[in-house]
């Protein structure tokens, strides 16, 4: 049984957000839901400043606070290291979300069908024709059929993809539906500059293990004791107060 893990090289990341886009298309997540998100972090004061970008998937912690607090065991840790949500068991108490130090959980506040980027019933979006007429009602909206299958050894749990029903929690799955087919997660596969490596962390010879052994490797919020399975390289941990600037900017824009 492999133990999946990921490394993210912050020196390579140029902030193109191809991972964010790939994740959204692959997992059919709704508006405002970023299972993969990219921080833009600024250090220093202009003109003596620099930026870097920091992708943030779910950390799939070994000692996951979200798994510990789930009152019904919907959020669970698999033997291969993945932390997943059982969408058929989740009761929507959102305890996992307040427990997560990385804020990677997204709740389905709306019906997923009405939380897409475009309401496909709308007419005349491209001049004269109706979209549904052009596409014969088939696509769009596109929905990845893999997400309706059950995964895991017992094939009993609905854990893949997003947008299953309102009132349940969802988050990054490391693309469990792709992993079980032998593919890489969508964000990893779509990165143009190979920021990510992904694979079996329990195998010391795997690429991901060798990269994670780099002496610049660190994990986010290590002193929270969550034992994340995502390793960052070639930068240092961002200060949570980097947000102060962001908050100011948001206030002035409003």
């Amino acid at each position: 049984m492999p133990k999946y893990g990921m490394t993210i090289d912050l020196e390579r990341c140029m902030g193109c957000r191809a991972c964010v886009e790939a994740c959204k298309v692959e997992n059919n997540t709704g508006q405002n839901m970023y299972w993969m998100y990219v921080f833009r972090i600024e250090r220093g004061k202009y003109p003596d400043s620099f930026w870097f970008f920091m992708p943030r998937p779910c950390m799939h912690c070994d000692n996951a606070p979200c798994v510990k607090v789930c009152p019904v065991g919907a959020r669970h840790k698999r033997e291969d290291g993945l932390v997943l949500t059982d969408y058929e068991r989740c009761i929507g108490c959102r305890y996992c979300e307040v427990a997560c130090p990385y804020s990677v959980n997204y709740f389905n506040w709306k019906k997923p069908a009405s939380n897409q980027y475009y309401t496909w019933k709308e007419e005349n979006i491209y001049g004269s024709g109706k979209v549904a007429l052009v596409t014969a009602g088939a696509v769009p909206p596109y929905r990845n059929p893999d997400h309706d299958k059950l995964y895991g050894i017992s094939k009993k749990r609905l854990v893949s993809g997003g947008g299953h029903s309102k009132g349940v929690m969802e988050k990054c799955t490391f693309c469990v539906h792709r992993l079980e087919k032998g593919l890489l997660p969508a964000c990893v596969a779509n990165c143009p500059v190979k920021v990510f490596t992904f694979g079996d962390l329990s195998d010391p010879k795997s690429e991901v293990s060798r990269v994670a052994a780099d002496r610049s490797a660190f994990r986010l919020l290590e002193n929270a004791g969550t034992e994340p399975r995502v390793f960052y390289l070639h930068a240092s941990e961002p200060d949570p107060l980097a947000r102060l600037g962001l908050t100011e900017i948001r206030r002035t824009i409003r």
């Binding site: 839901m33 009152p71 009761i91 959102r94 305890y95 959980n105």
Partner: protein, 425 residues
């Protein structure tokens, strides 16, 4: 074994115009709350002001969870008063025993309802919380200890303590006799029966005390264990929850006692003696809570960890400053009132009730200040600060819950004597 008996005929279920007018108003508020909840069920919780923490810039727990804590906190009063009467033999408080027990039962029901209302999938919740219960989650104890254990024990207590009165009312043959018969369940008031009841209630009171402390603590633990939330992660959370529960619970009991006293004209049964005792007890709990809160804030301010400090700044001088200082005032002013009364030995019911109302408002705002800012200003990664303001749906649902609670209380008072006829010693 002696019983102080009042003639049964003295008790009359009063239901004048005031009762019906207030019942209609409360039913309207309850209906509005139900309408709001139907919107939430139909559209999802998008109709609330809550949003996900982090990139969505919101608070995922809002008014509902604040009021779960508030309602369950209120329940502190009943069992504490009952236990004081039974275990410490504080006969002064005996006329308030049933009013307090009823308060416990009703507030626990409201607390349980607010939890269900907060769930994204309430029907699944009612099933899965039992079917897949996981003792590793602090929520498990909120359900098993607070809702199941504590509520059940309080109901049994209320039931047993009321049997003698029910038996007496059943013989009188007026009002809902079937209810009194059912409640009395063959109680005849023999010396042996009274002795057995008294003994059972003593042990039950003793057994409920640890349940009470654990139940309020476990709600504190729901917050106190979260290492990723500055402002929550603290060992003080559990004891502070127990004490603040006492503050708002006793405060609410004072208010209810004063209302019952004037509406039902019970001046001869509920006198200044009970208020004196409650006033001193409330003052003691208040200063204990202020001490715990001070200890918590001074630790945070001294250690000065970046994320804790930012949260503290948001509370003291930032977005939440107005609410924070109002809360401080609503806790300090009642304490000063109660302390002055204690020092001068001159007690006044209006002032004690004022203090009770103030600590209850503080009980709501303090819970809000605990639940919300740690989510909007407490992220450990550099997300921009979030914001949360409750929507009309949340306000209406909370108002509806209050209306439901008051209605239940009024109905009980209408069919059953709220001040015990028999005060079993």
């Amino acid at each position: 074994m002696s019983t102080k008996t009042q003639p049964v005929s003295a008790w009359q279920p009063r239901a004048g115009a005031g009762f019906y007018v207030s019942a209609v108003i409360l039913l309207v508020v309850l209906a509005l709350g139900l309408y709001a909840y139907s919107r939430q069920l139909a559209e999802g919780e998008i109709v609330t002001g809550m949003r996900s923490i982090g990139t969505m810039g919101g608070a995922t727990w809002g008014l509902y969870i604040s009021f779960v804590v508030y309602f369950i906190g209120i329940s502190f009063a009943g069992i504490t008063i009952a236990a004081l009467i039974r275990l410490l033999n504080l006969k002064t408080l005996a006329p308030l025993a049933r009013a307090a027990e009823l308060l416990t039962v009703i507030s626990l029901i409201l607390g349980a309802l607010s939890i269900v209302i907060d769930l994204g999938q309430p029907l699944r919740g009612l099933k899965n919380l039992w079917l897949y219960a996981r003792p590793a989650s602090p929520f498990f104890y909120t359900f098993s200890l607070v809702i199941a254990g504590y509520l059940f024990a309080s109901l049994v207590y209320l039931y047993l303590a009321g049997r003698a009165d029910a038996a007496a009312l059943a013989t009188r043959g007026r009002g809902p006799v079937w209810l009194y018969r059912l409640w009395a369940a063959g109680y005849e008031g023999t010396a042996e029966e009274r002795e057995r009841h008294s003994r059972t209630l003593w042990w039950l009171a003793l057994a409920i005390i640890p349940l009470l402390v654990l139940a309020h603590s476990t709600l504190g633990v729901v917050f106190g264990l979260q290492v990723g939330r500055p402002g929550w992660f603290s060992a003080l959370q559990a004891p502070a929850f127990v004490i603040l529960a006492g503050v708002s619970g006793i405060g609410m009991l004072v208010v209810i006692a004063a209302i019952l006293r004037s509406v039902l004209r019970l001046q001869d049964r509920i006198s200044l003696d009970q208020f004196k005792w409650l006033s001193n007890f409330l003052g003691f709990l208040l200063i204990a809570y202020l001490y715990l809160w001070g200890a918590e804030i001074s630790t945070t301010a001294w250690v000065s960890r970046a994320e804790e400090n930012e949260l503290l700044r948001a509370l003291i001088s930032g977005e939440y400053a107005a609410l924070f200082w109002v809360t401080v005032a609503l806790l300090v002013i009642p304490f000063v009132i109660l302390l002055l009364q204690f020092l001068t030995k001159r007690y006044s019911i209006p002032w004690i009730v004022t203090a009770g109302v103030m600590v209850n408002i503080a009980g709501m705002t303090k819970r809000y200040l605990l639940v919300v800012p740690s989510q909007t200003y407490g992220t450990l990664l550099p997300y921009a600060a979030g914001s949360y303001s409750p929507s009309w749906v949340e306000y209406l649902i909370i108002l509806g819950l209050f209306a439901l609670g008051i209605l239940l209380y009024m109905l009980f008072v209408k069919v059953f004597p709220i001040v015990p006829i028999h005060e079993t010693e």
